[in-house]
């Protein structure tokens, strides 16, 4: 019996339940649904954590060695980050835009070819302490960007013409658009330094393994593209004429670039970074 696969399934279904609960809370404003959503999120996060633990025990290395393992780490960071935000800012409705993302992430993970699921020893290139540091910090960054993506979508919905600042309708329950904008910034201000550390530690590692810290490999280049977009976002937010909607669109483009950096490069573009 491979425990990690069992925990994967539990996490998978739990995130579906949680996503439905948060969506239900958003549309019905039922307080109990909201409470249940938070409680179930904790359980789901624990199952997610148990996947990471059991996988580490089974494989003998950190669960960062391929797309399958890293995706489950991604959802863990995303949901943990979300819960932190929910408690700090007391906003449940954001869950309706984050939890479906976590569930969707596991749906695509479950569609990966079976060979990704099997426990493999590390190949020579991955045997380095930099694996842990590089992947860990990169994925904290990814989690921040995914949160900001959900928040930016909410911001765009909220700041549409005709959408009321408060009151009725599904949009009415959203936090103020200025709060959404600020939180989207906060999550990017979290993700951006971690992505940067991820890129730099990747360079340090590449310098050890391949003899060059930067070779314009597709993975490296796409990480830089994502970095450029979020750098543009950070500058847009303090530039007249670029604040608000334009900045939100930049945040969404950044997330799309990140998704391609993560998945597209692995499947579409050939390169050195052939693990995930």
């Amino acid at each position: 019996m491979i425990f990690s696969l069992m925990f994967f399934d539990i996490t998978y279904w739990m995130y579906l339940i949680v996503a439905v609960l948060y969506l239900g809370f958003w549309l019905s404003r039922n307080k109990w649904l909201g409470q249940a959503a938070t409680v179930f999120t904790f359980i789901a996060l624990f199952a997610n954590f148990m996947f990471l633990v059991s996988r580490t025990v089974e494989s003998g290395h950190a669960p960062f060695s391929n797309l399958y393992e890293s995706m489950v780490f991604f959802t863990f960071a995303l949901v943990a980050g979300y819960l932190f935000m929910e408690f700090k800012y007391k906003m449940k409705v954001v869950g309706a835009f984050v939890m479906p993302l976590a569930f969707l992430a596991l749906v695509v993970t479950s569609l990966l070819p079976f060979r990704y699921q099997s426990v493999e020893p590390l190949n020579p290139a991955l045997q380095s302490i930099w694996l842990e540091i590089h992947v860990f910090s990169t994925f904290l960054g990814y989690a921040g960007f995914a949160l900001s993506f959900g928040l930016s979508i909410m911001y765009l919905l909220k700041s549409r013409k005709g959408a009321s600042e408060s009151g009725g309708g599904p949009i009415g329950i959203f936090p103020k658009s200025s709060v959404l904008d600020e939180l989207a910034y906060k999550t990017i201000a979290w993700g951006f330094p971690f992505l940067t550390v991820g890129i730099i530690t990747g360079g340090v590692w590449a310098n050890y393994a391949w003899g060059t810290y930067w070779s314009w490999d597709p993975k490296e280049t796409w990480s830089l593209i994502t970095w450029f977009i979020y750098a543009a976002y950070l500058h847009a937010r303090v530039t007249r004429g670029w604040r608000g909607k334009k900045a939100a669109y930049l945040s969404i483009s950044g997330f799309i670039a990140m998704a391609f950096l993560y998945w597209g490069v692995a499947f579409v573009l050939p390169g050195l970074h052939a693990y995930a």
């Binding site: 800012y89 493999e120 020893p121 190949n123 020579p124 290139a125 045997q127 380095s128 709060v179 600020e182 939180l183 910034y185 906060k186 201000a189 979290w190 951006f192 330094p193 940067t196 550390v197 730099i200 360079g203 340090v204 590692w205 310098n207 050890y208 393994a209 391949w210 003899g211 060059t212 810290y213 930067w214 314009w216 597709p218 280049t221 796409w222 830089l224 593209i225 450029f228 977009i229 750098a231 543009a232 500058h235 847009a236 303090v238 530039t239 004429g241 670029w242 670039a257 490069v265 573009l269 050939p270």
Partner: protein
């Protein structure tokens, strides 16, 4: 003002605009995509087979086949660098002034107009007492402060985290340092790749030493998957072994600023250790005597055909012939069509230098017509090589220094905040009114709560 300085001023003004930064960043992001869609640095043949000759022509004209080194991509990067430098220089002095010379003596209107403000009115105490209490609370909350005392009206300016203001400057300077490091590496460094045969000593270009490969081996997991590639290397300088180290992936050898990385391995395509031949009867095709083994570059007598001697002089792993230049070469590093070349001597005189094919024994007779027997290649023992990536990069430490500095800048910019408070203490007949205003450079939501909590602390401290 001369025309020249007018132009310089205009250019300077242009590059101080953040809009320019945003446009440059987005352009770099968009353009960079191109170089990932079209594979970089492939051979002309490969491009033509994918895109056709016409498209390939245009790709090379624009430079997309080696995009990140084209003049226009470098120009875009340089413009961004210029933008960073000018913005930093342009903003720094006024920023420094605003932080080092805080305005303490602000008006009541200024405080009440701040986005975070509160008031505590009718405190029964004298202004000087209130001031002491306020300062105590500020100290407890680790604020630094300055006081402007005019007796009846006292203004306290408190602040913390002023270095957070310079986080973005530190980060921007770091980016320039990293860029400079990469330029140093490009100018004074070099990159090379050398496949070196096991047992061979190879002089390394651009250095004054040699590398000897003592051994190459692969470690396997119990499951049969590859665990590690290893090469046992010696550094030879002036005929002496200076250093010996086993390198593997993620563990290079370092000597005199040059690093040697385990990069690949395989069987040599231009040399063998030894080859095995048999002599056969031309008529009956039957083997005569025992097989003959010849080492590389060795000359031996052919047993059974005593007039003849054979020397092993050449090898290609995948035989191909260039008709134009009349040379033999190997088509690939695979051992798909191995062939050895021998020198054939008769009575001590060189008579021919034929190629023998392992896959096509006896295709071309080797011996002359006078001989009743012929020589056939039956086997060979290949030599293993280890592929070493070689690199010297004197800029790399500059890059790492810049990276650490960048980290510091990010901590200041993203995780620390510059907070300022102004507290106006004004006596109003026998009571005192206190107005408090606060400002933060970012992270307003969090500050709103912190500010309100602080106002409550003042209230509790003053009306006990």
């Amino acid at each position: 003002m001369g025309i020249f300085s007018k132009v310089v001023l205009k250019v300077w003004k242009f590059f101080t605009l953040l809009r320019v930064t945003i446009v440059l960043l987005i352009s770099l992001a968009l353009v960079s995509v191109l170089g990932t869609v079209v594979e970089q640095g492939k051979s002309a043949q490969e491009y033509i087979s994918v895109y056709g000759e016409k498209v390939y022509y245009w790709l090379t004209v624009i430079g997309i086949t080696d995009m990140y080194h084209t003049w226009w991509f470098t120009t875009l990067l340089s413009l961004l660098a210029l933008n960073i430098i000018i913005c930093t220089i342009d903003r720094f002095p006024s920023k420094w002034r605003s932080v080092s010379h805080q305005k303490t003596d602000v008006s009541l209107r200024f405080i009440d107009n701040l986005s975070n403000h509160g008031a505590i009115e009718g405190v029964k105490a004298r202004p000087a007492e209130v001031k002491e209490k306020v300062i105590n609370i500020l100290k407890k909350n680790r604020y630094k402060y300055e006081v402007s005392d005019r007796g009846e009206e006292i203004t306290v300016m408190a602040y913390k985290g002023k270095w957070a203001r310079f986080g973005s400057d530190v980060a921007h300077v770091s980016l320039i340092i990293i860029l400079l490091g990469s330029i140093f590496g490009g100018i004074w460094g070099f990159k090379d790749f050398q496949p070196i045969y096991v047992g061979e000593t190879r002089a390394i270009p651009n250095t004054d030493f040699k590398i000897k490969v003592n051994k190459f081996w692969i470690d396997y997991y119990d499951s049969g998957q590859i665990k590690q590639f290893n090469s046992d290397l010696s550094v030879i300088e002036n005929g002496k072994e200076m250093l010996r180290k086993t390198i593997y992936v993620n563990e290079p050898l370092y000597y005199k600023g040059v690093r040697f990385y385990q990069s690949s391995y395989g069987l040599a395509w231009g040399k063998v250790k030894k080859a095995q031949f048999v002599l056969v009867d031309k008529e009956t095709k039957k083997q005569i005597g025992a097989p003959i083994f010849i080492n590389w570059n060795e000359k031996i007598k052919v047993a059974g055909a005593d007039d003849y001697e054979v020397k092993l002089v050449g090898f290609v792993s995948d035989f191909a012939f260039d008709e134009k230049n009349k040379v033999v070469y190997t088509n690939s590093s695979e051992h798909d069509n191995p062939a050895v070349r021998i020198e054939l001597y008769k009575n001590g005189k060189l008579i021919s230098k034929p190629w023998l094919f392992l896959n096509f024994p006896g295709l071309f007779p080797v011996m002359d017509d006078a001989s009743k027997s012929d020589l056939i290649l039956t086997n060979y023992q290949p030599i293993q090589y280890t592929g070493l990536q070689i690199g010297k990069d004197p800029g790399v430490n500059v890059v790492w220094f810049g990276s650490i500095f960048l980290g510091i800048g990010f901590i200041l910019a993203f995780f620390m905040f510059y907070k300022r408070l102004w507290i106006n203490i004004k006596s109003c007949s026998d009571t005192v009114d206190i107005h408090i205003g606060g400002m933060i450079n970012k992270n307003r939501i969090i500050f709103e709560r912190e500010f309100n909590a602080l106002v409550d602390k003042f209230r509790d401290g003053l009306i006990e």
